[in-house]
């Protein structure tokens, strides 16, 4: 057996090899074209149609963002750090400003904090909807592909009226946010979230209770609680394994300490659990949007903050749609950080892929893999 000993990062042509006579296993290279893997490659070793080993080979969308943000000032870096996950841009943006504010000691006014949470929760829904539509594609369920993408426009329009941009907002800046609520936003947001929650019921009927989905997700791709913790998994992947970790509760930031919401978990750790955690979180975020608008305090939205990274170290972390997103920032007094380490949810969940796929049938690989909500661009940065 020589195929299993090959290093996983050898070229694609070498990896898909002719097996030796008598060999029990076959190695298959999935990706890096978007063939149900995203822009990454999975090197899958099969015994029959059972996956006995799966190694991810990321890096196809690596942009060197950690290097880029070392040479730009902290404001010019904001559009850059949003790029890894444009569907979840404001949460990444939030981790960035949180690290800077920790160093500067700048406090954002209360209204600014609430507006940050408002866009964060809209982004969480948009990101989960995008994830859900791709899930539909993977299962050949065209309706589940079209509906979430259509309903995502509800929130894209809202975000556009709030920030001026559809997806990459650069809305959060050190010291606050860029713009206040436009007229009529609250009424429109309430109308749209209420409609959206009715749609979620329809999603459940057509997809989450559909045997097409349940037969390929229940009991498949199990990630135990202990394994999820020691691998450092985060976000819905960790909560799908029954661990009630959510930074919005555990290390409350912005206005989350004053908001009332539940952390949703599922105990089983299978693809179905991870998918249902996403569903529950969309409901919770929808409720949170209305709550934020109801509790929104008056006052300024932004405080003046200098364009400077003071000497010292900070660790800014937020709960993004795919789990904890954080910046470890080292400042030396200039207008750019000496070092800004960018650790995203998908990067951490990369470690879960081999554990989840082991023992799964090849036909169930896309559903198991996608239930981790691994976003290759966010992991590669």
């Amino acid at each position: 057996m020589t195929t299993t000993e090959k290093p996983a990062t050898s070229s694609a042509l070498e990896t898909v090899t002719q097996e030796e006579p008598g060999s029990q296993t076959m190695t298959l290279s999935v990706g890096p074209q978007h063939s149900g893997s995203g822009h990454m490659r999975l090197i899958v070793e099969l015994d029959g149609d059972i996956i006995i080993n799966a190694q991810p080979d990321p890096g196809y969308v690596h942009r060197g963002i950690e290097k880029i943000i070392e040479v730009r000032n902290i404001i010019r870096s904001i559009p850059v750090i949003e790029r890894p996950s444009i569907i979840d841009a404001s949460n990444l943006n939030h981790a960035w400003v949180r690290a800077i504010e920790e160093l500067q000691g700048v406090e954002t006014p209360a209204r600014g904090q609430y507006l940050r949470c408002l866009l964060n929760e809209m982004n969480r829904i948009m990101s989960h909807l995008y994830w859900l539509s791709i899930y539909g594609v993977f299962l050949g369920h065209t309706t589940m592909f079209m509906w979430p993408l259509g309903d995502r426009e509800l929130f894209i329009d809202l975000a556009e009226s709030l920030t001026g941009a559809r997806i990459t907002y650069s809305y959060l800046v050190p010291g606050g946010v860029r713009r206040d609520l436009p007229p009529g936003f609250t009424e429109e947001a309430i109308k749209r979230t209420e409609y959206f929650e009715k749609r979620l019921d329809e999603y459940e009927n057509i997809f989450f209770e559909n045997p097409l989905f349940t037969s390929r997700a229940k009991g498949v791709g199990v990630l135990s609680k202990e394994k999820a913790i020691e691998l450092g998994c985060t976000g819905p992947t960790l909560r799908g394994s029954g661990v009630d970790v959510d930074l919005r509760k555990d290390d409350p930031y912005a206005a989350y300490g004053e908001l009332d919401f539940k952390v949703h978990t599922r105990p089983d750790g299978d693809s179905y659990s991870r998918a249902m955690v996403h569903m529950d979180e969309m409901r919770e975020s929808s409720q949170l949007i209305r709550q934020i608008l109801k509790k929104l305090p008056s006052g300024p939205i932004r405080r003046k903050a200098p364009i400077v990274v003071p000497r010292g170290e900070a660790y800014g972390r937020v709960e993004s749609a795919r789990g904890e997103c954080s910046f470890y920032m080292v400042g030396e007094g200039g207008d750019k950080p000496y070092r800004a380490r960018f650790i995203t949810g998908s990067y951490r969940n990369l470690a879960a892929i081999p554990a989840v796929l082991k023992g799964v049938r090849l036909a169930d690989m896309p559903t198991s893999w996608w239930s981790i909500d691994y976003w290759p661009v966010e992991a590669d940065r």
């Binding site: 290093p7 996983a8 990062t9 050898s10 070229s11 990321p58 890096g59 690596h62 060197g64 950690e66 290097k67 880029i68 070392e70 040479v71 920790e102 913790i229 020691e230 691998l231 450092g232 998994c233 661990v243 970790v245 555990d250 290390d251 010292g312 170290e313 900070a314 660790y315 972390r317 904890e324 954080s326 470890y328 080292v330 000496y338 070092r339 380490r341 650790i343 990067y347 951490r348 990369l350 470690a351 590669d380």
Partner: protein, 160 residues
């Protein structure tokens, strides 16, 4: 009511008590953020202690910082706790410094399996060797990349 940074100080106190000679420095940066700098040769023992006795069972990630003016790399393990609910907000930075010309460190994959990918990234981006790492290969960089480790400070950005 306890002092605002009592928990962080307690953690540091326990570590100093158990490893009086191997903790090179420790401080509370601010609420929920603490730093421990340790001797590189003792990092496995201290890491195991932190995991088992202090409850930091959940690795967040690993950072490397190139302090080229001081001729050293700093490797930082960012750790959080799930087991101890009351310290879930704390990020403990376990740090070690290694000389820049012999960039060798001991891998902590056996303590926290989740750091495997992060150590691989530090290897390819900074050229740091991790002894005992099961798969020290490139992670994000292209296979045919034969340039120097790109995140080192002497590699200048084209427009810089």
């Amino acid at each position: 009511m306890s002092l605002p940074q009592q928990r962080e100080e307690n953690l540091i106190g326990i570590l100093k008590e158990n490893f009086p000679n191997d903790i090179k420095g420790a401080r509370t940066i601010r609420r929920s953020r603490a730093d421990v700098i340790v001797a590189p040769e003792k990092i496995v023992d201290i890491a195991t202690f932190i995991r088992d006795k202090l409850g930091f069972d959940h690795p967040i990630g690993v950072s490397a910082v190139d302090y080229n003016r001081e001729s050293r790399f700093e490797i930082i393990y960012h750790l959080s706790s799930i087991k101890n609910r009351e310290q879930r907000d704390i990020v403990l930075n376990l740090k070690e410094s290694i000389p820049r010309n012999t960039a060798k460190a001991t891998s902590l994959v056996n303590v926290w399996p989740g750091v495997e990918n992060f150590e691989r990234e530090s290897y390819e981006m900074f050229g740091i060797q991790f002894d005992g790492h099961p798969r020290l290969e490139k992670l994000f960089l292209n296979d045919n990349w034969d340039g120097p480790p790109p995140m080192r400070k002497e590699i200048r950005f084209p427009t810089d």
